[in-house]
């Protein structure tokens, strides 16, 4: 069975909410929607205080190339455009909406019917993806339309669909593969049409046998799309590792997947593309897993949540935080970020809220490095984390750059595996930040 070619770790999978069907989360009364929710240039807010909005009304407009529209997830009145705090405590511009009813823009198909026939041509599809504000839902929030505008002279050979969900605890991709199987396949057909190609590979790790079964059954109806079961190994869902697992190719350092003829998107993104192209729906909701070891089984949930819902409301809906809560994480335990502020609203890519108890919340005390080399073995990029972290702690940025610090994908395997609990990745992040600044200064000269 296939997997990527070096490194990787096996964290406890803890997919506690895997069997819980997706529930629709009730509408909030007061929504806060960030003006920019993607990787790239900021979007421009196009509404102001007092404006009436419907679900799907444009709130902020993408004006740069790598940028994404944001639409209103609610109908109601804009009360103010002001800064709001995000999960990590950063203040960012946001639109505050007092929610009234649930009225959608007329041009959006809100019926649950599956639309199979693809009427748009390749150019229109890319336009629509851009217009509907679709971003990569694997976590990076990269504007999706950019991936479908191939650079001159490049040809896509493989469309790779990421159903790996290698992060422990997360179950949202698993649920949509089971509950929205056909929509995902139509989404993939749309992507193929946009890229003018007929080969798609869907990578799914074998710890999701139901999803593999459902997707394989459906693939019989959609020739050219193949489900490939993969060995369980973190970080298989990372773009470069998934390409390597499925095609054996290595994306060259600092280059994009298209360099080796691949376009990679998440199953969630495929679903969002289906809804955007076939039903004209903007990206205004996503699936969020609420889970954790201390969360009662009945409160482990996969929720369909509108963007801009305050986190506290989701927590209250799921029975409140368990008493021994020590840490909240947005995303998985390997790459997710610790949440500072529970009043902050969700964004397009909020895939989970993970509750860690007090025992799990703090790291163990670091002890001296015993040079065991386990971090070197674990690094999926073939780097030497122990060396990089030493160089970074000594502020030897040029040497760190030579040792390829910028190739680090911050998957966390090194810190996960270190028997001495050394803060390897923390030091490497500092190094990446510094080397990045040095590189930018160099190109400006």
């Amino acid at each position: 069975m296939r997997t990527f070619n070096r490194g990787g770790v096996h964290p406890e999978e803890n997919k506690l909410a895997r069997n819980n069907s997706i529930e629709v989360f009730p509408l909030t009364k007061k929504a806060v929607v960030f003006v920019s929710q993607h990787l790239g240039a900021p979007a421009t807010c196009v509404v102001q205080k007092g404006d009436k909005v419907k679900v799907g009304t444009l709130l902020s407009k993408a004006e740069a190339f790598i940028c994404a529209n944001v639409h209103s997830p609610y109908s109601g009145t804009v009360t103010k455009v002001d800064v709001a705090t995000d999960f990590n405590g950063f203040k960012k511009p946001a639109v505050y909406i007092d929610v009234e009813g649930d009225e959608w823009e007329e041009n959006i198909d809100t019926t649950p019917d599956i639309v199979r026939e693809i009427t748009l041509d390749a150019k229109q599809i890319v336009e629509r993806i851009k217009d509907r504000g679709i971003v990569g839902l694997g976590g990076a929030a990269f504007p999706t339309n950019v991936k479908y505008m191939l650079p001159e002279g490049k040809k896509a050979e493989y469309l790779i669909i990421n159903g790996v969900e290698c992060e422990p605890y997360l179950t949202s991709d698993n649920r949509i593969m089971l509950e929205n199987t056909e929509e995902i396949f139509i989404g993939i057909e749309i992507m193929k049409k946009a890229l003018n190609m007929n080969n798609a590979l869907i990578g799914i790790e074998i710890n999701k046998p139901e999803a593999i079964k459902a997707m394989t059954l459906m693939s019989a109806k959609y020739p050219g799309t193949k489900v490939v079961p993969l060995q369980m190994k973190y970080p298989q869902g990372a773009e470069k590792q998934l390409i390597n697992a499925l095609t054996g190719r290595e994306v060259p350092s600092g280059k994009l997947p298209i360099e080796v003829g691949c376009v990679v998107d998440n199953v969630g993104t495929a679903l969002a593309i289906y809804e955007a192209v076939q039903k004209n729906r903007p990206l205004v909701y996503n699936i969020l897993t609420f889970t954790g070891k201390s969360v009662k089984p009945e409160n482990q949930k996969n929720l369909l949540v509108r963007v801009g819902t305050p986190l506290q409301e989701i927590i209250d809906y799921c029975g409140g935080l368990p008493e021994d809560t020590g840490k909240l994480i947005s995303g998985g335990p390997m790459m997710g970020k610790a949440i500072m502020d529970t009043s902050a609203p969700t964004v397009k890519t909020t895939s989970s809220v993970l509750v860690m108890n007090q025992k799990e919340a703090s790291r163990q005390k670091a002890s001296p490095c015993i040079r065991c080399g386990k971090c070197v073995d674990a690094c999926p990029m073939g780097l030497e984390p122990v060396l990089l972290s030493t160089l970074c702690s000594q502020q030897k940025w040029e040497e760190a750059e030579k040792e390829c610090v910028m190739d680090c994908i911050e998957c966390g395997c090194c810190l996960f595996t270190c028997p001495a609990n050394r803060p390897l990745l923390d030091m490497i992040r500092v190094g990446k930040f510094q080397v990045g600044a040095i590189r930018r200064a160099r190109t400006q000269k």
Binding site: T325, A361, K365, P368, I370, L383, G412, D426
Partner: protein
């Protein structure tokens, strides 16, 4: 409201810790210790305990009064490993006071001088062992080592001294049968006699992912090949290479001493180079040197080369293939 912890990812950790690694190595050494007690008597246990206790005590005192550092590293098991390995490397009739000096040199000079756990360039137990070997040659390197006397043998005889299999290889004489060498019924240091007990420990460490196969296989493989070449060229002067693998400290060195994480390279490629270096040097010392044994010196020399190997032998980085 609940107080929330904020920290960078990852938020989960593997169950492996330094302490676990060290105590698992101690566990892996127990079969060799048991075989040694069986063949050489209770004195073995006394020596081992004395050596371990001395190593712990010296580390504790140095950490507390000289380095004024964190005392938690005393209990991580690394000093226990050093103590056991040191005892494994001496003959069973060594006076305890000599062994205590060895422990002081191992911990004091070999380990704590450099700042303690993780910072020593040379394997501390070997530093202690070589110090004793050079300072007390009559006790450490004599040709008359105690012969094995199985504990429950029907006829109890006084311990007889005789040459080790290595001195037999060097100076001629009747070698013990290979099967006896494999099980441990041969003269030698405490812990080195039984290949099977050491291999058992090695397999345990492999299964617990404490060591990888690279160093032991490269060590034993290169020694076997090199000794084999010599044997093919001149069978009269150079014995069958299989004897080299089972005689002396080859197994103990390849499984427990060369694999010391702190003093061996961090990349697998580097570990293979390191292991091959150990194997080659051992056979060179054994066949062409003045002394019958060469494992300790071979490993110490390769320990010294390790920083160089780490500097020049690099991993294959993802996305740099030509």
């Amino acid at each position: 409201m609940t107080k929330l912890t904020i920290s960078g990812s990852p938020h989960v950790h593997s169950t492996m810790s330094t302490n676990k690694i060290m105590w698992n190595v101690v566990l892996a050494m127990l079969p060799a210790l048991l075989v040694s007690i069986y063949f050489f008597g209770w004195n073995v246990l006394l020596l081992t305990c004395a050596s371990v206790a001395a190593c712990l005590l010296f580390e504790c005192l140095i950490q507390k009064y000289l380095l004024k550092g964190d005392m938690s590293t005393v209990y991580d098991g690394s000093a226990v490993i050093t103590g056991m390995l040191l005892a494994f490397n001496v003959p069973s009739n060594l006076p305890i006071w000599i062994l205590l000096i060895g422990a002081l040199v191992a911990i004091g000079v070999g380990k704590m001088t450099f700042g303690g756990l993780g910072k020593n360039p040379f394997n501390p137990a070997l530093v202690g062992r070589v110090f004793l070997f050079l300072s007390f040659p009559t006790n450490m390197a004599m040709s008359a080592w105690p012969n094995p006397q199985p504990m429950f043998a029907s006829k109890m005889v006084d311990t007889v001294s005789g040459p080790t299999s290595l001195s037999i290889i060097k100076r001629g004489g009747d070698l013990p049968a290979l099967s006896e060498m494999f099980l441990g019924s041969m003269g030698g240091s405490l812990g080195e006699i039984s290949a099977i007990a050491i291999l058992l420990g090695g397999v345990y460490m492999l299964c617990r992912k404490i060591i990888t196969w690279h160093i032991p296989v490269a060590f034993l493989g290169s020694a076997f090949i090199f000794a084999g070449i010599l044997h093919l060229i001149n069978p009269a002067d150079y014995v069958n290479p299989v004897y080299h693998l089972f005689a002396g400290g080859m197994m103990l060195g390849a499984v427990f001493m060369a694999t010391d994480m702190v003093t061996s390279p961090i990349t697998h490629k580097g570990q293979i180079i390191f292991g091959c270096g150990c194997g080659l040097l051992t056979i060179i010392f054994r066949c062409f040197g003045p002394m019958p044994e060469g494992v300790s010196f071979a490993i110490l020399i390769m320990n010294g080369v390790t920083p160089l190997i780490n500097k020049y032998v690099k991993t294959n980085k993802f996305g740099y293939k030509k």
